[in-house]
């Protein structure tokens, strides 16, 4: 299972943002993370959680919690396979 702590850690390190600013409901754009920068965060998270985030899902990720939810869904679906 993906954890908020790991996501917070990756965003914090990749984007140089204080971890306490990264809450589940925080919009990525409010952290200064645009769609291109989000790709680098997702790239790191794909490695950490051993998932592949399809291109069409990227645009649906708005908040920090969206990342957590999508990764968990991907992990669950791959486990079922």
């Amino acid at each position: 299972m993906a954890s908020l702590e790991v996501i917070r850690d990756v965003i914090s390190k990749e984007m140089n943002i204080a971890p306490e600013l990264i809450e589940p409901g925080t919009h990525l754009i409010d952290l200064g993370i645009d769609s291109l920068m989000a790709l680098t965060v997702l790239f790191q998270l794909e490695d950490r959680f051993n998932v592949e985030i399809p291109p069409d899902i990227v645009d649906t990720i708005i908040t920090v919690d969206d990342i957590l939810t999508k990764i968990n869904e991907l992990q669950n679906s791959s486990e079922h396979v």
């Binding site: 984007m15 140089n16 291109l36 920068m37 790709l39 680098t40 997702l42 790239f43 592949e52």
Partner: protein, 402 residues
């Protein structure tokens, strides 16, 4: 009516250190930055180079931006920031309408080769998402534009080892014509990757034991890395804001060999020098210093010396000539820009940096190469020669601004 164009800011990063002061002191000391290279990848048979001293990227760049910056962009950014600071342009929005034109011979090779390593060696199914914007040859120009808020024209030019000179030419022309008042131009390259250094080795032009331009015992070039950026400005614009002026750029003689991909062509090189003199409206005997292309290969230095003799006749034996590549290595597309900085500084300080490692000339290289020791000299007009693979020749002419 063409406008006069002056140089008001300089930036340099190279094996000689960080900033123009380190660069110039290093050049004038005659102590070469070439030494055993620090290798990143597999054990490399290319052992010598002039690498930029180690630095912490976090000292210069926000962590969130660093993944956009290949090393060649990092060097350009550091140098560009220095140049605008030096030109008194670091605050306000005066840079908004400026141009930024950066030459590069290699582009983002670190990014490209890391990508190939992931795909071909590690068999990875994917690569970093910023591989394209980080590695593209225009990335450095874009990075400088974004970092400094420059909204005028921004692009890269590439002509191998003359890239920086062609970028400066482009900026010079744009200001001369009135298209822009202000421009940052220069070159950047970081060729110390496994693939690129092995590719240079394969061409059999690298020296195994040092860079000795014009010396009878020369046996090749040595790779270097760095970036040189200069601020060019219309004379009127510089005077209006009361900025001190290093020198005036008065010509850029361009020619192409249309001959051989790597062998220099004496006639075409002479033509570029002739064109520079004609544009600058000076006679050969009025040239006080030539910063040579001077790679240290047997053929380049021979042909360059012969071309200088063809143009300058007897005065060829009087005009001081030096190769700063002996000190900062051949930094590819950055070389001509670093050498432009050296040439401008030579005019500003009235000192000629030496050709390092010179022992004795030969039957072709029998001119005054300012061997090993810097020289005080009265310099009004100075040329900076760059002759690239592919036969692209560029000769910049700078003049003392009084």
């Amino acid at each position: 009516m063409k406008r006069r164009v002056v140089i008001t800011g300089l930036g340099a990063i190279s094996g000689l250190g960080f900033g123009v002061d380190d660069f110039w002191q290093g050049l004038c000391s005659g102590a070469s930055a070439i030494k055993e290279i620090v290798e990143e990848g597999p054990t490399n048979s290319v052992k010598l180079g002039a690498q930029v001293p180690e630095f912490d990227t976090a000292d210069y760049f926000d962590v969130s931006k660093i993944s956009f910056y290949d090393r060649f962009s990092q060097l350009a950014l550091i140098s560009a920031r220095e140049a605008i600071q030096d030109a008194g342009l670091a605050s306000g929005d005066i840079l908004r309408d400026a141009a930024v034109i950066i030459g590069t011979g290699c582009g983002g090779k670190h990014t490209d080769e890391a990508t190939y390593y992931q795909l071909y060696v590690k068999k990875s199914a994917r690569v970093h998402p910023l591989t394209i914007p980080k590695g593209m040859p225009s990335a450095a120009a874009s990075a400088v534009s974004m970092d400094l808020g420059i909204k005028g024209p921004s692009f890269s030019v590439t002509s191998a080892c003359a890239s920086g000179a062609h970028a400066i030419f482009q900026a010079y022309s744009m200001i001369q014509s009135g298209m822009v008042d202000l421009a940052l131009a220069g070159g950047t390259d970081s060729p110390f990757t496994f693939g690129l250094s092995k590719s240079w080795e394969a061409l059999r032009v690298l020296s195994p034991d040092g860079c000795r331009p014009f010396s009878s015992n020369r046996n090749g070039m040595v790779l270097g890395e760095g970036a040189g950026i200069i601020v060019l400005e219309s004379e009127q614009h510089a005077l209006k804001r009361g900025q001190s002026i290093y020198a005036e750029i008065v010509a850029c003689g361009l020619s192409s060999d249309a001959d051989h991909m790597t062998r220099p062509n004496q006639t075409s090189i002479s033509l570029a020098i002739h064109k520079a003199l004609a544009q600058a409206e000076v006679k050969p005997f009025q040239v006080d210093y030539i910063n040579a292309h001077g790679t240290g290969t047997v053929l380049n230095d021979q042909v360059e010396s012969l071309a200088i003799k063809e143009v300058f006749k007897n005065y060829a034996y009087e005009v001081p000539i030096s190769s700063s590549k002996s000190l900062h290595g051949h930094a590819m597309g950055a070389s001509s820009a670093l050498e432009a900085v050296a040439t401008i500084k030579s005019i500003a300080d009235q000192i000629i940096p030496p050709t390092a490692n010179f022992t004795a000339g030969d039957e072709f290289c029998d001119l005054d190469y300012v061997p090993n020791v810097a020289r005080k000299h009265s310099i009004n007009i100075a040329l900076s020669n760059s002759f690239a693979f592919g036969g692209s020749n560029a000769v910049l002419a700078f003049k003392r601004y009084i």
